[in-house]
Amino acid sequence: MAERPEDLNLPNSIVARIIKESLPEGVNVSKEARTAIAKAASVFVLYCTSCSNNLAMKANRKIISGQDVLGAMTDMEFERFVEPLQASLEVYKKAQKERKEAIAKRKQEKSDKKPEDIEEGSDEGGENENDDEEVDDCS
């Protein structure tokens, strides 16, 4: 696996907040414990990535998909996460859809304007042509 991500720890403040909210009120967490959990989280990301990637490669795909990540949860013995993840995914997809619609609407509004109001050849840019999944180049 890749080297230890000492420089790529997740933001301590956010880790601390999640920890605090997951525990009963009045419970404290030592700084060492917080650091330990943050470090564990970084390792978890690497492990999760690796498992997901294995699933993608098994299926002869080069792109890690959302389904690969969900499948990896089972491999990693975190089945309990699958349902909540699926629910979050629905919310995310809905938000993505709304975002795309908003962009399309803005484009429409621009094209309704007079041509001299718009710079020649200008484009909203960033509009991805992928259908369902948008891809991030990790190479």
Binding site: A2, L8, L10, P11, I14, I18, I19, E21, S22, L23, P24, V27, N28, V29, S30, E32, A33, A36, I37, K39, A40, A41, S42, V43, F44, V45, L46, C48, T49, S50, S52, N53, M57, I63, I64, G66, V69, L70, M76, F78, R80, F81, P84, L85, S88, L89, V91, Y92, K93, R99, A102, R106, G125, G126, D132, E133, V135, D136, D137, S139
Partner: protein
């Protein structure tokens, strides 16, 4: 903050809270929209910065491409993981009748839970 509790997992709903600004920096993803506000709206569904997670994902030499959806799921599941590990650690804290979770409690949780076996040795620095 509006939260739903499902068994042990807390599912964060999409609610704008006053910490919204801290949640994520403007997205720098290629896929990101020209409108940063809209990008932030999506990313408020997660707390961790997706870009930071993306850097971690990129560290794996075998990984070529990762869909935006997969990145989101990895980010989200890491949040669940933090909750899960915290609660496991706390079970040892409360067993010792303490009110402060110590590193030792986290280590005990790692030793006890099979699913956390991948963390063995990680905390030894």
């Amino acid at each position: 903050m509006d939260q739903m509790e499902e068994n042990e997992i807390e599912l964060e709903t999409v609610v704008l809270d006053d910490t919204a600004d801290e949640i994520l920096p403007p997205s720098t993803e290629k896929i990101a929209t020209t409108n940063i506000e809209e990008a932030n709206k999506v990313e408020k569904i997660v707390r961790f910065p997706v870009t930071r997670i993306k850097h971690l994902v990129k560290m794996d030499p075998d990984v070529n491409l990762c869909s935006q959806e997969a990145l989101f799921l990895i980010t989200k599941t890491t949040e669940f993981f933090v909750e899960c590990l915290s609660k496991e650690a706390y079970s040892y804290t409360s067993q010792s009748k303490k009110k402060t979770v110590q590193k030792r409690d986290v280590e005990q949780a790692i030793d006890a839970v099979d699913a956390l076996a991948f963390l063995e040795g990680v905390l030894d620095s």
